[in-house]
Symmetry: C2
């Protein structure tokens, strides 16, 4: 099946949040949705959301003001995008590429879709 289907919730949330930061849905300096709010919206547990937020704190992409909320730091979007791009090219793309080759698919053609 799709490897992304049976993925832990907190990782899916993490990807979703990362995409939102990169796309500017949560601009730099803005406050992220509270763990409870996002949990209610996504139908998940607050702790699961907190776990998804955790990595962004460790990487210094968001700043925690205890009792207040979590804020996107300056330059977070670009730093995040660079890191994701590097990780994608180094870890995922080689496998995807060889896999497509095995299946007789051409990335250049599919790109035009």
């Amino acid at each position: 099946m799709n490897p992304n289907a049976n993925r832990p919730v907190y990782l899916k949330l993490r990807d979703q949040i990362a995409a939102a930061i990169i796309d500017g849905v949560y601009p730099e300096g803005a406050m992220l949705p509270s763990v409870r709010a996002l949990a209610a919206e996504q139908g998940a547990n607050p702790l699961t959301v907190a776990k998804a937020y955790q990595q962004f704190q460790n990487d210094g992409l968001v700043e925690v003001q205890r009792g207040v909320g979590m804020y996107v730091v300056r330059g977070a979007a670009e730093r995040l995008r660079a890191a994701e791009r590097e990780a994608f090219l180094r870890q995922e793309w080689p496998e995807i590429r060889s896999r497509m080759q095995r299946l007789g698919l051409d990335p250049a053609e599919l790109a035009l879709t």
Copy 2:
């Protein structure tokens, strides 16, 4: 991290075997390695290997001769390739494509690597 890294062993084995069938490492009519042999080679448990083989039996891609071994049926490689291709295009490619777009990557360029 890489979604394929923390995947269950039996699924990684399954993908590895599927690739071998498609690539003709196990040609049609040939016998697959015994569960014990592959388990020893891969450092896994025979039952884990059996679980990896399971799906191929259900899909009718391999034929079990009890007491003898498991054999790749005729047309298995092409059928497997078609199924994998369809699944890839429908389930995985859309996500990959949008993700690359977000990261500012062009599939057409990367294809030339």
